[in-house]
Symmetry: C7
Subunit: 90 residues, 7 copies
């Protein structure tokens, strides 16, 4: 199944960061903050947007924005391009 | 009875996915999440929209948007084209 | 008494569908859902609207929109044309 | 005292309809619904409006809209022309 | 102290009407309704407004709109011209 | 430290008026109303505004608007020019 | 990791001011007010904005606006340029 975003939307895959306590214990999901980093998986029509984002970019997105969907048991978000706050460059 | 959407609206038919527990039990409707996939059944006037959607397309739509109606005992939704988030391509 | 809608409004007459239980019992009004079908009785000025609706059309309208009025003991609704979701063609 | 509405507003005088029960009893004011019919008493500047309304017209107005005022002990409403839903023609 | 309203605003002085009961008793302030009549004391820049209002005009204003201020112990209101509903002509 | 407002904003310094009871007692701060008078301390870019305000002007501003800041222990407000209601001329 | 703001946004680093009581005691974080000063760390696309802000500027920003993010254990905010109220010039 392939999901193609419509309009000025993106399909992104949240990046869940591992979080260890100072003692080195890995925290379970429920103890972590909502992730705000994601990788861009598919891009809709960004012609009217002056933002350059391509598949593979890593981005920071506005918490609680977008719509969560499940594709083959993985979590994705369909999100308006204007809710992408920044690009991450390593 | 034929329903023709007016303006930039679509008539869509939600696709209820079967959901089995790990043990293989099919969950009844009330235990499932609200479906977000649908098939496009009829299309209004999309001239002012830059989105290409045709009858038969499978789409993901924004949960809780649109108006639910019943046509001959089946459930449909009349929805603004801007609430269609993505197309599904198999 | 004749009511002529002003602006991009319509006068519509809700169609109350008979609803029988499987056993054939006709349900009283209070047990029915709010009707969403109506017949167009009078049309205001739709020049700026790109929707073609004429008197006699059967339409589906957005629940809870419009203003209910009584004309000679019958219930009508004055409603914006943009709250008419679809036309019904038999 | 003469009240001249400013801008695209009207001064209207609500028409309180007599309401009798089936047994012929006239209901007191508190038992009646808020009236929605009115007669147009004065007209502001409707140049930018495409609605033709003149003094003396009977109209149906949107319940709860407008501002109630008292002129020499009578109740009037100053109301935006866009809250006039329809004209009544006898 | 002179207050000159900025933009499309007016400085108005509410007119508190005496109110007597049928028996002729003058009601104290707390028993009266909020006044809606005022005299125009100063006028800002009404160039972009198509309303003709000058100092000295008596007007009806939209209840609860505007900002109450005190000038030398008297109560005034600074109010947008669009919240002036009507002019009163004696 | 100098604060230069950005956009159509002003930096103003509220004027706390002394308030004496009829018996001549000066009321402490908590018993006074929120001040609405201020002196203009710095001006941003008012080019797109048709309001003439310069540093040193005394103004009346809309209560609860703007953002309070502290500069060297004094209270100031950064406020949109459109929330300045009037100028005070002595 | 480098974060590049998209659109008319900035990446800013809040400046936590030391706050001592009159007796000279440094207050812990929880006893301080939310900081409103920040240094500009990265700038998105300000072409459509008439505000001149460059990296290194110290600014006052609107409390509670923007999105807090963590970069390598430091706190930053991604914020719309219109929520930057003023520049601080020493």
């Amino acid at each position: 199944m392939k999901v193609r975003p419509l309009g000025a939307r993106l399909l992104i895959k949240p990046i869940q960061e591992e979080k260890r306590t100072e003692g080195g214990i890995v925290l379970p999901d429920t103890a972590k903050e909502k992730p705000m980093k994601a990788e861009v998986v598919a891009v809709g029509n960004l012609e009217d947007s002056d933002v350059d984002i391509v598949v593979g970019d890593k981005v920071i997105f506005s918490k609680y924005s977008g719509t969560e969907i499940k594709i083959e048991d993985d979590d994705y978000i369909i999100i308006d391009v204007e809710d992408i706050l920044a690009k991450i460059e390593d």
